[in-house]
C-alpha cells in the first residue's frame, strides 16, 4: 500500500528555529508542515499590515527559507505552512525574491479567502450574524473594535495548490490539522465523503500540530525521556487507507510511546465524540492505538462523519489595557513580607485615586498556579510577587506601572528583581469565536 511521510517542525510562532532546519537536513520525509498562528497572532499581523500593506505574515519563515531553501529543493521536500498570516500574497512575493536571489527554482502556491476583515460589512449584509458562539452576544457590541477576522477554511485549497505543483504552500487561517490533511488529500486523492480517511488525516494532524509536545515534551513522566536537548520533532507515516504511525528520526532525543501520544490527543480537547473541523467531524473515541515500542505508535480505524455546513470564524477585538509587574522578596519570612508589600502598593494606588476593573495578586513560588491544592508549604527563602491590573483607562494602567519600584526603598527589606523597568500598559486583544455559513465564503489558491 502507498505511504507518505509528513513531519511538523513548528508548533507555534516562537517554537524552535532549529527544528525545521534539522528536519529539512536529515529527515526522510515527503512533506514538512509549519504552524505559526494562534488566535492572537493574526491580530498582531493585521496591525502590521494596517501600518504597511506589504507586511502581515510570519517573517521568521523567510529566515528559514533563506537558510534552508536549497536543501528543501535538493531533498525534494514539499512545505505547507500558515506563515502567510493575513497577507499570503505579499509573503509569497517576498519568498520568491529570496529564492530567485539564490537561484532556487521552486513553485509557490498561496491561498486566499480566509481573511474577511475587509468584507465584514458585506457579509453581515448578506446574512452572516457572527454572534459570539459561546455567549450568543451580538457582533454590534464589538463592531468598532475588531482587529482581525479570519475563517478556518477547509483543506482542499492546500490540495489544489499541491495538485498545481506548488513546492511551498503558503496559507493563512487554515486549521492546524489541515496542514497535514491537505497533502494527504493531494497524495491519495481522498474524496469529500471518505469521512473515515479524512478523520484519520485530521487526527494525524492534530497529534503532530504542536511539534515536540507528542515526542516527550510536556510529558507527565518526564523522568523517562532521554535527551530533551536533542528532542526529535514528530513524523507521521500515513497509508492510503488512512492508518498511520507516529515516528521520529533515529538520531534524535525525546520519546514516543502510548502515553506521550495519548496526552497530545487530549490536548485542547472538548467533546471527544464530536471534534469538528471544516473537513469532517472526528470521533476521538473510535480508533485503536498500539504502542510498537522503539518510538513507534500506530493508530487505525478512525471514524469520521459528515462535516457541518458552517466554518468557524476567529475574530479578535480590542478590549482595554492590562499590565503586570513583578518583585522578588527574599530573606526571613519572605511570604509575609510579600503579602505586606502587595498591601502597600495597592494602598498607595488607592491613595492616588486609582481603582481598576480587575486586580490580581499572586505569589510565585507559593501558590500562583495551583492555589491551595495539596499545599504543604514549609517556608521558602524567596517569593516572587506578581501584581496585575486591567482597565479601559490607559492612564490608570500606566499609573500602576509607576507604583512598583518605589517599594524597594520604602517597604520591607530584601526586595529586588526590578531590572526590567516600569511595566507598560499592553492592549488587551480579546477573542470572539463565531460561525459563518460555508456558502458565504469563497477561497482560492494560485501559483506564483
Amino acid at each position: 500500500m502507498r505511504k507518505t511521510k509528513i513531519a511538523n517542525g513548528q508548533g507555534f510562532w516562537g517554537d524552535s528555529i532549529q527544528a525545521p532546519i534539522d528536519l529539512i537536513t536529515s529527515a526522510d520525509i515527503n512533506y514538512l508542515t509549519l504552524d505559526y498562528l494562534a488566535e492572537i497572532t493574526l491580530s498582531i499581523m493585521q496591525k502590521q499590515k494596517n501600518k504597511n500593506n506589504l507586511f502581515g505574515y510570519a517573517r521568521d519563515f523567510l529566515d528559514l527559507i533563506n537558510i534552508s531553501g536549497k536543501l528543501l529543493k535538493e531533498n525534494k521536500i514539499k512545505l505547507i505552512t500558515n506563515a502567510g498570516g493575513v497577507n499570503p500574497f505579499e509573503c509569497s512575493k517576498a519568498l520568491k525574491k529570496i529564492l530567485v536571489s539564490q537561484n532556487i527554482n521552486l513553485n509557490i502556491g498561496y491561498i486566499e479567502g480566509d481573511d474577511i476583515y475587509d468584507k465584514l460589512d458585506l457579509l453581515i449584509k448578506q446574512g452572516a450574524d457572527l454572534c459570539n458562539m459561546d455567549t450568543g452576544e451580538n457582533i454590534e457590541k464589538i463592531r468598532g473594535r475588531i482587529c482581525s477576522a479570519n475563517v478556518y477554511i477547509d483543506s482542499y485549497e492546500i490540495k489544489k495548490a499541491l495538485d498545481n505543483e506548488a513546492d511551498i504552500v503558503l496559507a493563512g487561517r487554515v486549521t492546524d490539522p489541515g496542514l497535514t490533511l491537505g497533502p494527504l488529500l493531494h497524495e491519495f486523492d481522498w474524496k469529500k465523503n471518505d469521512y473515515n480517511k479524512l478523520a484519520s488525516g485530521t487526527l494525524a494532524g492534530h497529534i503532530i500540530e504542536c511539534g515536540a509536545q507528542c515526542t516527550g515534551g510536556n510529558y507527565s513522566k518526564w523522568y523517562n525521556v532521554d535527551d530533551f536537548i536533542n528532542i526529535g520533532y514528530p513524523i507521521v507515516e500515513v497509508s492510503e487507507n488512512g492508518n498511520f504511525n507516529i515516528i521520529k528520526t533515529d538520531n534524535t532525543g525525546g520519546l514516543i510511546n502510548k502515553d506521550t501520544i495519548c496526552e497530545q490527543i487530549l490536548y485542547e480537547m472538548g467533546n471527544p465524540k464530536k471534534y469538528i473541523s471544516p473537513d469532517v467531524c472526528v470521533d476521538f473515541t473510535s480508533f485503536s492505538l498500539i504502542d510498537n515500542g522503539d518510538n513507534n505508535v500506530s493508530i487505525s480505524n478512525v471514524k469520521g462523519y459528515k462535516p457541518t455546513d458552517t466554518y468557524k470564524v476567529s475574530i479578535s477585538y480590542f478590549n482595554g489595557y492590562k499590565s503586570s509587574g513583578q518583585l522578588t522578596i527574599s530573606g526571613p519570612n519572605a511570604l509575609e513580607k510579600a503579602k505586606k508589600t502587595a498591601e502597600i502598593i495597592w494602598g498607595r494606588l488607592s491613595n492616588a485615586g486609582c481603582s481598576y476593573s480587575e486586580k490580581n495578586t499572586e505569589f510565585l513560588g507559593y501558590n500562583s498556579c495551583q492555589r491551595s491544592i495539596n499545599l504543604k508549604y514549609s517556608g521558602s527563602n524567596e517569593i516572587v510577587l506578581r501584581l496585575s491590573v486591567r482597565d479601559d483607562d490607559f492612564k490608570k494602567v500606566e499609573r500602576f506601572g509607576k507604583e512598583i519600584s518605589p517599594v524597594i526603598t520604602s517597604g520591607p527589606p530584601g526586595i529586588t528583581g526590578f531590572a526590567g523597568g516600569r511595566p507598560k500598559p499592553q492592549e488587551v486583544i480579546a477573542y470572539w469565536p463565531a460561525l459563518i455559513s460555508k456558502n458565504l465564503i469563497t477561497t482560492n489558491s494560485k501559483i506564483l
Binding site: 497530545q264 490527543i265 472538548g270 467533546n271 476521538f284 491544592i373
Partner: protein
C-alpha cells in the same frame, strides 16, 4: 492505600476560550475502570474549587483509557484577557495529578516505579 493520582496516570491541560480542559490517561484498563467510578465531575470540581468558577464536565475515551474534564470558566477570562500567571491552564494537568486518592489494594501493582 493513599497515593497521588500521578502514580497511576499522566495528564495534559490547555485552554478553550474562557474554559480549560484536563485530559488524564491511565496506566491500563483496570485502573481506568476503577477511575471511571472514582473520578467523578463532583470530585474534580471539589479539587479545583478555587480555580473553576463554573461546572466540570467529564467525557470518557474507553479506547485509550482516558478521561477528559472541561473546567468551565477557569482562566479568569479568555487566554489573552486573563491576568493570571497561568492564563492558559497549562499547569492544571499537573494540579490534577496532585490529587490524593485511596487506591484499592488489588491495583497496587500498577503504580509507577
Amino acid at each position: 492505600m493513599k497515593v497521588k493520582l500521578s502514580s497511576i496516570a499522566c495528564a495534559r491541560s490547555g485552554d478553550k476560550g474562557a474554559h480549560s480542559n484536563v485530559g488524564i490517561v491511565f496506566n491500563n484498563n483496570d485502573v481506568y475502570i476503577w477511575a471511571k467510578k472514582y473520578l467523578t465531575e463532583e470530585i474534580v470540581k471539589k479539587h479545583f474549587n478555587e480555580i473553576v468558577k463554573g461546572d466540570v464536565v467529564r467525557y470518557c475515551l474507553d479506547n485509550i483509557f482516558s478521561l477528559n474534564f472541561i473546567l468551565i470558566d477557569s482562566l479568569g477570562g479568555g487566554g489573552s484577557e486573563s491576568l493570571l500567571n497561568d492564563a492558559q491552564g497549562k499547569t492544571y494537568g499537573q494540579a490534577l495529578l496532585l490529587m490524593e486518592i485511596d487506591l484499592p489494594n488489588n491495583l497496587k501493582g500498577y503504580i509507577n516505579e
